[in-house]
Symmetry: C2
Subunit: 391 residues, 2 copies
């Protein structure tokens, strides 16, 4: 048996292991210091009440022969797909039930979607970036082009008509930068894709953090997007599902390449290599979209956004240049005095015992930048804010 | 964007849709008849008490900040991997914790494992077969060879040293035939794989139905297998998890191809394209391996096996040739009087209003054979037995 040698081209990422080593060493040398992490990329608030109640009820169903559920539809139960359809309608996007596929999270589908595309496609990926986009394409040996996200374009790169790409990754609100595209900017990407026969893989995992009603929460709010885009979303950050695992992928019926409906290909991929998400978890996900569920998750999102506001206000006071922080849980700022990302990391850790994520870990354009997140407790955020002001 | 054109080579399967159409038409024309299905491939008994209790407890954890779980390890929580390690020890297989990967079901991993293998490998697949093995390889354009499973070899094909294959699929107890390999036979496959630098993908999803202690429940009971095999298992049939979704994959540390540890490749695949199974579901899976859980699932398995015994005894009385039915929920028999699979299907449906699955739907060697399953209710099985005796 011959292995897939593309895997040998993957680079090991030492970003989070280096951070944890440095923090560990600092704590050993400074046992009395209280280190605060603003590097947390995971939610910290528990699941909301409506979700917990629905989980208990679904568990009860599974314990009784009359209500027990065996294999479900691979693309997800209709009750959940209907709720997602209504959710999209609330921001003026009309979907067909068959365009919605329930997944165990956006990460799985973002990786697996490449199954239905030829390896001989050119991929366009922003830099800095969520590393999964890059690694999944290295695994299949695709040619990767990078587009520069930087201070000049506010970390929102726009299409360059001289560059030809078949598969384009867009994440908005962005991970790691927190920058959000507006309608006009996304329209430019949709037009580029339609003109170049490209497909846009749109990651909207952070859409629930968008408070500004003028900003698009879905690529399908843009005219023409149904002919050129797939959207991946997740309840991970929306409803604290990082450990509960549920997401969804929208593959429009109008999406046709090589005269083949992409929806058919994805359905075939999923029915062959996937057996659907647990009934119990789909019931939990459904509760997120109930009236009470929506109110409850808004409280948690509001909590994180207030954290982001406190951090942003502090960075403003300090005169730091940054993006994100208003419609996103992430804030991405320029390190002061032209420090490199890691120099600033060490400076923060040693000077005020606050930890964040060096931007250089997300790509070459991340050098000199720094990411902090709003997922910590209010207490820690307030303490971090106090310390930041001493810088 | 260019699509993966291998998908266009997939054949649509009309097996189950044709069955349902025929049954529907029969019921319309015979509204007073009571049709019994022996074609059910899904479990029908609810989750056992220990699992239900553990599910409720895990749900409670997710509702409180102190016990809430966010992202878990992609390869699964150690508590569950430890339980699986102990389970394997109980049938004398020693595993390292890092050799165990928790999945959302064997189907996902059986499909996804091909990611780490070059497309230019030759695949050997038994006929008749679980269609997923074939379709996942067509999707990646691999060359497929078939090995004949038939009455002559009791549907347990053995290696032919004239045939060279890189990737070999073995499912024991088999789906669809219910045939089970013994140690000696599996040793022949392991020897073949070691001699030919092949990898065996061993599907043990039905291992819990093996009552005969002389039969292997894991390929790793065979000497040398850790150097040539990956094992896929699932709690779907073991503990009624078809709708709850949890399985596991064993990738031995000793497995090396092209000087690369396969375990490292699979870990990289999973950490990149998967975010782990829901904490709640992993807790449920863990309860299956508890002392009470094991007793409770044995009751359900015993129930299905008693169904299989009743059906087998009837086929014996009728003088039908068959395999399976003792260490498996499936029975695979030769249609009487040289009828084709579909002729016998129509005969059974019209004559005694009993439905099964035509063997021809699982490959060319399935022609003239028929599959029935033991997953129905006792009441229906007893009624079916009565009707079969009138044939």
């Amino acid at each position: 048996m011959k292995i897939n040698k593309n895997y040998l081209n993957l680079e090991d990422s030492y970003l989070f292991s280096t951070i944890s080593k440095k923090v560990h060493a600092f704590k050993e040398n400074n046992p009395n210091s209280k280190v605060i992490s603003l590097g947390i990329g995971d939610v910290t608030l528990p699941l909301c009440k409506s979700v917990i109640n629905e989980l208990h009820s679904a568990v009860e169903d599974m314990g009784k022969a009359e209500t027990f559920k065996g294999y479900g539809p691979e693309q997800g139960y209709e009750f959940l797909r209907s709720s997602i359809k209504s959710y999209y309608e609330s921001h003026n996007v009309k979907l067909d039930l068959n365009e919605i596929f329930i997944s165990d999270g956006a990460k799985s589908d973002v990786g697996n979607i490449l199954d239905i595309m030829e390896n001989n496609n050119t991929v366009l990926i922003p830099d800095p970036v969520y590393p999964v986009y890059v690694d999944t394409n290295i695994m299949s040996g695709r040619k990767i082009l990078y587009m520069d996200a930087n201070k000049e374009n506010n970390f929102l790169p726009l299409p360059d008509c001289n560059i030809k790409a078949d598969i384009i990754y867009i994440c908005s609100p962005n991970n790691p930068t927190g920058a959000v595209y507006n309608h006009e900017q996304l329209k430019k990407w949709v037009d580029y894709a339609l003109n170049n026969n490209s497909i846009i893989l749109f990651d909207s995992a952070y859409e629930a953090f968008i408070g500004d009603k003028s900003l698009p929460r879905s690529i399908f709010e843009i005219e023409g997007a149904k002919k050129c885009a797939i959207e991946f979303c997740s309840l991970s950050k929306t409803a604290g599902f990082t450990g509960t695992r549920c997401g969804y992928t929208i593959v429009p019926m109008e999406l046709v390449f090589d005269n083949v409906k992409i929806n058919n290909l994805w359905l075939r991929r999923q029915t062959t290599k996937f057996n659907g998400v647990s009934y119990i978890i789909q019931r939990a996900a459904n509760a997120v979209f109930s009236k009470n569920g929506q109110q409850e998750i808004q409280e948690s999102i509001g909590y994180y956004k207030e954290n982001a506001k406190l951090l942003s206000a502090t960075l403003n006071k300090l005169g730091f240049w940054f993006v994100g922080g208003t419609n996103s849980p992430y804030i991405w700022f320029k390190c002061p005095q032209n420090m490199t990302s890691w120099e600033f990391f060490d400076y923060m850790l040693n000077k005020i015992n606050v930890v964040g994520t060096p931007g250089a870990g997300f790509g070459k354009n991340g050098e000199g930048f720094f990411r902090i997140t709003a997922f910590g407790s209010r207490e820690n955020i307030l303490e971090a804010v106090k310390r930041l002001q001493t810088l």
